[in-house]
Amino acid sequence: MKQRIIQNIQGMTHTDPKDHREELNFRLIWLLSFLLTASFAIVPVIFFAVIDYNVTKHSVVADAVAQTSRLTSNNWRSVAFFFNERQNALKYIVHDNRFSALNDIERLTAILASLRSSFGGFTDLGVVDANGIQRTYVGPYQLSGNDYSGQSWFVNVVEKGHFISEVFYGFRGVPHMVIAIKQALPNGGYYILRSAIEHQLSPILSEDKTTENSDAFIINRSGTLQTPSSTFGDVLHKIPLDVPAFSKETEVIESLKYQGTDLIVGYRYIPDTPYILMVVNEKRNAMETWHQSQMALIRYLSISITIILLGILGITTYLVRRLRQVDKRRVKYLHMAEYSNKLASIGRLAAGVAHEINNPLAIINEKAGLVKDMFTFKQDYKEDPRLMETMDSILNSVVRCSRITRQLLSFARHMHVSLQVINLKKLVHEVLGFLSKEAEFRSINVVIDIGDDIPDFTSDRGKLQQIFLNIINNAFSAMTTGGTVTVHANKLPNDTVRIDISDTGCGLAPENLKHMFEPFFSTKTAAGGTGLGLSITYSLVHELDGRIDVKSELGKGTTFTIHLPLEPGKKEEVHACTPSG
């Protein structure tokens, strides 16, 4: 197909090397039509594809942001509820139990047991006095009697009345957090109920995960991990990101660079705690389905564009070729019309001239004839050779003039075709009969090669005779002495007969060949050629719906090729004309 297109385009550009302007025009038309049609077809497709690309991208990002925000809020609610619930439970215990009861180890054990069964998540429970000494303790560690007066949580709870600590190792050497409640005593003093919670936040966070790839974790306000993070490492590691600015509401940072990947980060501060809940999503994961659909879109787009381009290429090439053919035909018809007009106007002129000349010529003829008659019949001057010679010369000139006017008239006439059944072989022999003496005299060899497969056909005998006579006459005059004239005819498949008449004469130069059929063009003016013979032949062949071409090579000879239809054209009617004086 590629080769065919290339051939087609080359066909447009190389068939007529003489006419460079035409070549350029059609190549340009082809290129312009192809480019314009292609851009009109492809630009909207690409435009909508780009719009779709951006719109989809934005909506996918917005989806991912919304999802992160949702996840952050959900996790935040769970975690905030967890702390609130536990803090309230401790508050309830200090309100419901006297200080003495809480210092009873059995009672405290029972309370821890019921806390574990009701709420879960409490590791131990202890009562700390105003000096920071743990007076009573129940739990898995040996922490009774420990002095907490130097620890920050103790200082904070004494100050605020309740406190939730960051995660720390403490005495037990295990990451945990402390919830502490300060309770006043009737004697004006106070005590503190404290409980430690271990390993409770991670399960809550993973419960609320909605996608495989999101990472929910808690940091404190200095950026240290309070729960393990799949992105940033284990608990109590510092995260490499800046701690986000305080916000009561859920916030989402759309694009945060971390180790070459784009992160969507959602966060929210948990009130009354040192904690910030964070949810991290890799943008790449969120965009994965979008990437897949975009790849499909690009594939589809490429296939569509290829098909469109091939279609346009084919159609443009076809149309421009047709256009070129039509244009060539138009130029040809214009040329033909111009030529016919030229012939017709010259014809009218010739007829007028001939008619006007013929009458005075007839008078000269008769007067000269009379003078000659007088000399001849009266005997007085009969023996004077000079007189006779002079009269003969006048009369010869009249004959020459009349020959020219007759040819002019024959050129001018536009008679209709008179149809008869023609046997081509016989007709050619008849015509050669007129010329046989001259051929013999000039030693010209005439070869007739007419196939027996040519059927008799209907045409105008007079015109055909005239055509052959003119061309063979022309061939004879192209040769000095000797030489061969060949008449070859054969039937073509499309119901036409092709006749080639060639001579071995002097031939014609290419610049003369162009003008061959033009009226009054002659290379034999010195030898008495009028330049009308071949022009008349051309008209006659066209009147018979035929076509005549000529090929010639200087010094080698000339070949006339005539194509005649075996069926006469329907537009022609058999008519005899009414002549006018």
Partner: protein, 123 residues
Amino acid sequence: MRVLLVDDEKELVSTLAERLGYRGVSADWVTRASEALSKAEKNAYDIAVLDIKMPETDGFKLKRQLKKNNPQMKFIFLTGHGSENYYHIGSAETGKDFYLVKPVEISRLIEKFNEAIKKQGTP
């Protein structure tokens, strides 16, 4: 053989008549159609030589008028316009007449006279 020559060119017909006289053909000449008709009433002509384009009429009309009173008369048309081939075809209008194009050789004209006379029975 008596011949009537009709042509608006006086110089032509008068000279032609004289030359025919040298050759033993008795020829009268006129330059108008009306004169031709009156001449034909008075004399019996074997042949009329008519120009086709004349000031008052044309050769074909004149032929029909002459033919009415002279059914045996033969006609030869002499014209400055056209070629001989052109007129050989004949038609309903002209019948099988003889056509010659000016200028014509006198011997050829006499030949045509003889041919026309020989053709008995033609219209």
